[in-house]
Symmetry: C2
Subunit: 478 residues, 2 copies
C-alpha cells in the first residue's frame, strides 16, 4: 500500500490487477483492494450515511439499508462516532458544574482548544506554539492579513489565483480597501494559460519574479477548491519570500487531505477550516498557523484578552502581556462545544498518519481516475458533439503530487440532470454547473468498493438522464 | 410582582413583609416570595447544579442532594434542559445526512444562525436586519470598530470607561495602533471621582462635551463587569452622537439581564456574548447589532462570503453582492453545533419577556441588597479596623435603574478564605481579590430562597474563615 515508489497509482493498480489476473473494472478487484487496505477499519469510526436516511434517495431503485456513496468530504466531513459520547460528557459537565466546567473535566473550556491543537499541529507539520484553533477560516485569514499585509506605495499587491475561493477573494479586496488601495490595481490574480484549467508552477514563479517587488503578500489555496490542484507550496513559498513577500496559504481543502510541512516549508502564515477533511462539524473552529520565526513579531494585530499570557490573564489590569506565537492571535475565549467534534476527529487521525493516509488516498483517487478514464475518456479524433457519447475530462492534475483526494470531472454535457439521478441513487458529491462534478473519496472512510459503486451509479445516472439531457454544448466545456 | 411602581425594591419588600407580618430575614418570607413569583417554573427549564456534583463542595457540612447556590450567571449561564435533546437531533442529522444537513432538518446549518436571531433581537430591542449571530464578542467588537473607528488627525480618540473589561481595552488599543495612532493620546478612559467606584452620568456627559470633537467612537459596556453599574445607554448615546461620535456598546453583562431598546435608542453598533445571562454555553456565538440607518453604509469592513446575499452567494463569481445590514458583516459560515444551546436558551426566554424578567430581577437583587445591608452595613461612626466586624460595601448602585442582577460586594477583609468557605458550601460566585465578591441571582433560574441560603452560607463562611482571615486592611477597601 505504499504508493510512493515512483509508479503512478493507476500503473500500480494495473500491475496489481495483472498479478492477480483480475480486471480493475470488476467488483472483485475493488473488494481485494479493500481487504488489503490497512486503514479500512477507520470507516467504522464514522457514521457513514445510509441510503434510506438521505433526503434525496429513491429507495425504489436501490437497497435502502446500504451505505450511500459519500464523496463529499471536500465539503463536509462525516461525523466521527465518538462525537456524541464526548458531547454528552461536556453537556453533562455544564449541567452539573456550571462555570466550574471552565477548569474541570475532559475539555476544560478555558483551554479546550489547547487540548487538541497539538494533534492538529501534527497533521499540518507545525511545531508547538505555531498553531491556534479559533474563529472561522475567513476570519482567521483576515487576522493574518492584518499582520502580514501592510501595503506601501511601492509594495501594495496581493497575489492570488484567479478564481480563488470567493471568501478569500472578498477578504483580499476588503483588506486592500481597508488600507486605501484599489483591488483593480492591487489584487493580482494569476490565470491559467489559454485552454488550460490549472496553473503551472513555472507561471506562478514567473509572475512572482516579475511583480514580486510590488507584492506585499502571496496567498494561494493549498488545494484549489474547484480544480483540486495541489500547488507546490514549498517552491512558491520560497520564491515569494526571496522577493521580499510574505507567503500564506488557505489550506481549507488541503488540511487532513495532503501531507503538509508548514514549519519546514517556512510558510509565514496559514489558515484552514476543520469541517472538510478534518470532520469537525459544519462551520467549526478554524485552524491558524504562524511560523515560529514570527513568534515575537511586532506586526499590527487585532488583540483580545485570550491573546494575553495565561498566567497573568486574570489579573485584569489592562496591561497586555501578549502570548508569543499563534496563541497571541487568539481574541475571544474558545467555544467548548466546538472542540468536542474536533477531539473526536483527532482521535481517529491519531490512529494513523498523514503519510499513511496519503498512501491510501493516492491509490483510491488513482483508482477513480483509472476507471473514469477507461469509461469516459474521449478517444483521439472523436468530436465533442457526436450524439450519445459522454466524455469526461478530469480537470484535476493526474500527477498524484499535484492533487489530494478530489477529482473535478468536467462533462461534455450539462450535468444538472445527472446530478439529480446520482442523488436519487445516493451518491453525495458536489456540482458546479453546468459541467463539473467534484468527487472526493476521503481515505479515512471511503473504500475501493465505494469507487466501484460510484462508477456503476454514474453509468446508471447517465443512462437515466439521457432523455432529459440538455443539448451538448462543447463551448462551455471546462 | 410589578416593581416598576416607583418604590425601591427594598421598600417594596419591607412593605410586603409588613402586610404579612413576617420578617424579611426569615426563610418564611423568602418562601412566600417564591410562591408569588410568576416565573418560578422557569428554573425547571435548566439543569441547576447539585451540591454533590460541584467540585468544590464538602458534603460533610451540607445536604448533598440539595441544589447549590448558583449566583454566577454573570459569568456562565446554566445549561437549558432542552440543549441535549436539540444537540442529539443535530448530531443525528450529521450522522445520517452528512452535507445534506446544511439545508435540511430543524437547524439547517447553512442558515442556522438565522433560525434564532430574531428571538435574540427581541431581547435587545432590535429590528429585523439589525442582528447577526457570529464569532466571539471581542472579534465582533473589532469588526464594528473597523467600520466605525476611522480616526483622522482631528478626530482620533476612543472614549471608554477606565477599567473597561481587559479584552475591550486591548481591542481599543490595537485598533488605535492599527491606524498609526498612540493609545496614550487616543484612548480616553473616564475614571470615577475620587473615593467613588462608579461613574456618574453627568461626568460622562461632561467628558463627551469637552472632548467630543476629537472622539471618533464612544464605547462603554452596558453593565460594567466589575461594579455591576448599568450606564444610561440612551442618554450617553445621544450625547456622543450630538458631538459627531459613533456610539457603540459592549453588552456582555447587559444582554438577557436588563431591558434594552437598541433600535429606539439609536445605538450605532453593539456586541455581546451569549454565554452569560443568555445561557448559550462557554465561548458560544457572539451577538452583533448594527442600527438600521447604517444598513447600506459604505464603511470599511472585513468581508467574507457569508456577507454575500444568499440568493447569489453560490454563483461563486467573486463579485461581491453584499447583504444589507448586520448580515453583511458575517464572514464565515456559522457553526451549527453552537446554535443548538442558543436555540434551547431562546425557547426559555420566549416564555417570558425582558420586562417581566427585569420585574423579578429587581425584587430578587433588591432582596439580596436588603439582607446584605441589614447584616453587614457599617454603622455610622464604626471604625473599619475594629476587631471582628465584617462590613460590606455594595459597590453596585442601589438605584435599580442603574444595575441588573449583579451586586459587587466589597468586604473590609480579604475574601480569599471566605470564598473557599463559600465554595465548600456550594455557593458559586465570582471573586475579585482581595476584597470583592460578585454575586448575581439570575432571575431565570434563581429564587428568593437561594438569596436566603446565600446569606446563611455567607454567615457560616465568615465564621469559618475567621481563624484564617488575613489582617483587616482598610486601605484596599474598594
Ligand atoms: C464586558 C466583556 N467584554 C468582553 C468579554 C470577552 O468576551 P470574549 O472572550 O467572548 O470575546 C467579556 C467576557 O467576559 C466581558 O465580560
Ligand atoms: C478555499 C476556501 N476558503 C474559504 C472558505 C470559507 O470558509 P469559512 O466560511 O469557514 O470562512 C472555504 C469554504 O469552503 C474554502 O473552501
Amino acid at each position: 500500500f505504499n504508493s510512493q515508489d515512483g509508479l503512478h497509482p493507476s500503473e500500480k493498480l494495473l500491475s496489481i490487477a495483472k498479478q492477480l489476473n483480475k480486471n480493475v473494472e470488476d467488483l472483485d478487484f475493488a473488494l481485494y483492494m479493500d481487504e488489503q487496505d490497512p486503514l479500512r477499519h477507520l470507516r467504522n469510526d464514522f457514521f457513514y450515511p445510509k441510503m434510506k436516511d438521505l433526503v434525496s434517495t429513491d429507495v425504489s431503485i436501490l437497497d435502502a439499508e446500504e451505505d450511500c456513496v459519500y464523496f463529499c468530504g471536500n465539503s463536509l466531513g462525516l461525523c466521527p462516532r465518538n462525537t456524541k459520547q464526548h458531547m454528552d460528557v461536556e453537556l453533562d459537565k455544564w449541567a452539573k458544574l456550571g462555570v466550574q466546567g471552565h477548569l474541570n473535566g475532559v475539555l476544560p473550556w478555558a483551554h479546550c482548544d489547547e487540548c487538541v491543537d497539538m494533534d492538529m499541529a501534527r497533521l499540518v507539520g507545525a511545531k508547538e506554539g505555531e498553531i491556534a484553533l479559533m474563529n472561522g477560516l475567513t476570519v482567521n485569514l483576515h487576522l493574518t492579513l492584518i499582520s502580514f499585509y501592510r501595503p506601501t506605495p511601492t509594495r501594495h499587491k496581493i497575489l492570488c489565483e484567479s478564481k480563488a475561493f470567493p471568501s478569500d477573494h472578498y477578504a483580499f479586496e476588503s483588506q486592500i480597501r481597508l488600507h486605501g488601495y484599489d483591488p483593480a490595481t492591487s489584487l493580482v490574480c494569476i490565470e491559467p494559460r489559454q485552454g488550460e484549467s490549472t496553473l503551472r508552477t513555472e507561471d506562478i514563479l514567473k509572475k512572482i519574479e516579475e511583480e514580486g517587488d510590488s507584492i506585499a503578500a502571496v496567498c494561494f489555496s493549498g488545494v484549489q477548491y474547484y480544480t483540486g490542484q495541489l500547488y507546490d507550496i514549498p517552491t512558491i513559498t520560497a520564491a515569494g519570500q526571496k522577493k521580499g513577500c510574505y507567503v500564506g496559504w488557505d489550506l481549507a481543502h488541503a488540511a487532513g487531505n495532503v501531507e503538509l510541512y508548514l514549519h519546514d516549508w517556512n510558510v509565514d502564515f496559514a489558515c484552514w477550516c476543520t469541517y472538510k477533511y478534518m470532520n469537525s462539524s459544519a462551520g467549526s473552529l478554524g485552524g491558524f498557523f504562524l511560523h515560529e520565526r514570527h513568534r515575537h513579531n511586532d506586526f499590527p494585530k487585532l488583540l483580545g484578552w485570550w491573546g494575553h499570557a495565561m498566567d497573568t490573564r486574570f489579573k485584569m489590569d489592562n496591561k497586555m502581556d501578549l502570548s508569543p506565537g499563534a496563541y497571541g492571535y487568539r481574541i475571544s475565549n474558545p467555544p467548548g462545544l466546538l472542540v468536542v467534534p474536533t477531539k473526536a476527529s483527532m482521535e481517529v487521525f491519531n490512529k494513523t498518519s498523514m503519510k499513511e493516509l496519503v498512501g491510501k488516498s493516492r491509490l483510491l483517487t488513482g483508482y477513480l481516475e483509472l476507471l473514469i478514464n477507461r469509461c469516459y475518456h474521449k478517444p483521439a479524433g472523436a468530436v465533442d458533439g457526436d450524439g450519445d457519447h459522454v466524455y469526461v475530462d478530469i480537470i484535476t492534475p493526474s500527477d498524484p503530487k499535484q492533487r489530494g483526494a478530489q477529482l473535478s470531472l468536467s462533462f461534455n454535457i450539462n450535468v444538472h440532470q445527472v446530478i439529480n439521478e446520482l442523488s436519487r441513487r445516493g451518491v453525495v458529491c458536489d456540482k458546479r454547473l453546468p459541467h463539473v462534478i467534484r468527487v472526493s473519496p476521503a481515505p479515512l472512510y471511503c473504500s475501493f468498493q465505494d469507487v466501484h459503486r460510484f462508477m456503476r451509479y454514474l453509468a446508471d445516472s447517465l443512462e437515466a438522464a439521457k432523455n432529459c439531457t440538455e443539448p451538448v454544448d462543447s463551448s462551455k466545456h471546462h
